[in-house]
């Protein structure tokens, strides 16, 4: 009895929910970016590489200018370039998006590792990082403490979710964006270039993935970069995109769910084997994907 109470209090502690918010943020940002390309009909698995580049150039900028916001700016710039590069190959030259995504991931690991080891002018750890929000009154309200003391990008993500939702579903641009993926010919008849929308989607995805990377290295960590530190977050983000059917709000919730299970997994290690807890996020992925397939089948049957 005592044991089960222990498990309960360890799992549902404030720390769990704080970690959920922190670690869901990079996945969520990338997933919102991925939703943009998904709507535009591009299967983008290059998010992993874009996150990694954002993480590295964030640290580099932070080191060079001794300011985390300069790091953020450099990361965003590189994100835009990565998005343009992706669109150049996928949209302009019509290369296979799957292959280009893979190539981008490999390229990002090679490039960041090479630059970090040979050309990083100083120490790629302990550089200026993004500030945390600190509102004293939040600490006094029970339950709201968990949303205090988070890095600024955590809160920015909330705004981005709303903006992305407005953009996709409430503006003509969003309408065109969705049409460019679903019915490009119709869009062309309406006099709007689907290619242009795909370019915009790629660049938006690059920007959001760079933000995700910057949160990882400058928000969660103290301006620290290590080789391949994105550790498959881009792929988890991709799973969130599919699960949420590219809806930014749902994608954020999916990312939160991953963050939650990761946090629980970590805390469950005191009670069950870490080999099992390490599987939790991936098990959830499989369950989610099964759910997506079942949902699709049901809808199909209904329509028939």
């Amino acid at each position: 009895m005592n044991g089960s109470k222990d498990i309960f209090s360890t799992i549902f502690s404030a720390g769990t929910f704080q970690m959920m918010l922190r670690s869901a943020t990079p996945v969520a940002l990338a997933a919102i970016g991925g939703s943009m390309t998904e709507h535009a009909g591009i299967m983008n698995i290059g998010m992993e590489g874009m996150i990694l580049m954002g993480a590295f150039f964030g640290v580099l900028g932070s080191f060079l200018a001794q300011s985390a916001f300069a790091g953020l700016a450099l990361a965003l710039l590189v994100g835009i370039l990565a998005g343009l590069f992706f669109a150049l190959l996928v949209v302009r030259y019509k290369s296979d998006e799957f292959i280009i995504g893979c190539a981008l991931n490999t390229f990002a690991i090679g490039l960041t590792t090479y630059l970090a080891r040979n050309y990083f002018p100083g120490d790629a750890s302990g550089n200026p990082n993004l500030p945390e929000l600190n509102l004293a009154f939040l600490d006094r309200i029970p339950g709201l403490r968990v949303i205090n003391h988070q890095s600024v990008l955590v809160y920015l993500t909330w705004i981005i979710v709303i903006l992305a939702w407005l953009f996709v579903y409430k503006t003509p641009y969003g309408f065109w964006l969705r049409a460019s993926g679903e019915k490009p010919d119709t869009l062309r008849t309406a006099g709007i270039s689907p290619k242009k929308m795909k370019w915009i989607a790629s660049v938006l995805c690059g920007i959001l993935c760079a933000l995700a990377g910057a949160h990882l290295s400058l928000g969660q960590l103290q301006g620290t970069f290590t080789d391949n530190m994105s550790n498959s977050r881009g792929f988890i983000a991709f799973a969130c995109v599919i699960f949420a059917a590219a809806h930014p709000g749902k994608a954020y919730l999916a990312a939160l769910m991953f963050g939650f299970f990761e946090a629980i997994g970590l805390r469950l290690q005191g009670f069950v084997s870490s080999d099992l807890t390490g599987m939790i996020p991936y098990l959830i992925t499989i369950v989610m994907m099964v759910y997506v397939v079942v949902r699709k089948q049901r809808r199909k049957m209904k329509n028939e």
Binding site: G126, D227, G270, S274
Partner: protein
């Protein structure tokens, strides 16, 4: 034009694959040595320590050194690649289990396997294992002695024999210093994700741990950051890591991978290959495992009396009076 452009871009992407792949240094010796690490350099501990060892060989003894990073994949083919062009191949990491079938294929090559041992001795393989449990015993002893809450923690990279060998020693040492101490542990399940390492340490700090031992390679950088932010102590691993955060890292459990490689190869150059075909346990008695308190003049959190007590415990371990648990 379009095709050429695409080809060029593809080439650029391909080139990045080779970034940091292979490097050769040192020229004035007949001996060619290849260092193959299971993960990647840049962890500022285990793998970097092996690199320091071979760099010293290149500099002081003129050995021609090649390094290969496996990046946690294709260990077998990298071993063969290395053996094709070297006289001595040093494999760093418990992952190189297939050395038992590959080494006999290259009878003229002298192999060194770090951190694990073949079940049957192979004439041209020298296994070097480390008594990390002994050093971790001392780390646990220090942690428990300095803990105010009575809870100490350890973050492992993965639930696996070598990592657990650190942890059992750490637990036993902590209990020896203070019988009522509680030891909490978790695993980051990744050696190169510092954000995950940081979360692991924060989870332990939430359970009131106020000294945390990291055994997670590059993910350990996050452990140090978590400890710094919570104002608690951290203990480094493999290399003397105090310089990374002198105010947070109180000491490091040193596992001198580099010097053990250096000494083994130096002996080989002097014509002594007697160690090959056996397992050499580098432990506290021969000085390859121990506690480091950083460079002289750095801030010290461990008081001199405790250091003296640790010395005594170390002497007892060497004499065999204290038997340290092991998972091996």
């Amino acid at each position: 034009m379009k095709k050429i452009f695409c080809l060029l871009l593809a080439l650029v992407l391909l080139l990045s694959l080779f970034a940091g792949c292979r490097k050769t240094e040192g020229e004035n010796s007949e001996l060619r040595l290849a260092l193959v690490v299971a993960g990647k350099f840049g962890d500022r501990s285990f793998y970097d320590s092996s690199k320091e060892g071979v760099d010293r060989l290149a500099k002081e003894l003129g050995v021609r050194v090649t390094t290969i990073e496996c990046n946690n994949q294709s260990h077998d083919s990298q071993m063969k690649n290395a053996a094709d062009k070297a006289d001595v191949v040093v494999c760093v990491g418990w992952e190189f289990g297939n050395i038992k079938t590959i080494a006999p294929l290259y009878p003229d090559v002298k192999w060194i396997w770090i951190d694990n041992a073949t079940e049957e001795p192979i004439p041209n393989v020298l296994n070097i294992t480390y008594a990390q449990n002994q050093g971790s015993y001392l780390a646990g002893y220090i942690a428990a002695s300095l803990s105010k809450t009575g809870v100490v923690g350890a973050v492992g990279g993965e639930n696996q024999d070598v990592i657990n060998d650190f942890i059992v020693g750490y637990k036993q040492g902590a209990k020896a210093a203070r019988a009522d101490v509680k030891v909490v542990t978790n695993y980051s399940n990744s050696y190169d994700d510092p954000a995950k390492g940081k979360e692991c340490a924060l989870a332990l700090a939430d359970q009131k741990a106020d000294v945390i031992f990291q055994i997670a390679s590059a993910a350990g950088a996050g452990v140090f950051e978590a400890c710094e932010e919570r104002g608690i102590y951290a203990i480094g691993v493999d290399s003397d890591q105090k310089y990374i955060k002198p105010d947070t890292i109180i000491c490091s459990m040193k596992k001198e991978v580099g010097s053990s490689i250096y000494d083994a190869v130096k002996a080989l150059l002097e014509g002594d290959a007697s160690k090959w075909g056996s397992t050499w346990v580098a432990d506290m008695s021969n000085g390859y495992v121990g506690i480091g308190y950083g460079e002289e003049g750095s801030v010290q959190q461990v008081p001199d009396e405790l250091k003296a007590a640790v010395e005594e415990v170390a002497a007892k371990i060497i004499s065999g009076e204290i038997k340290v648990d092991t998972t091996r």
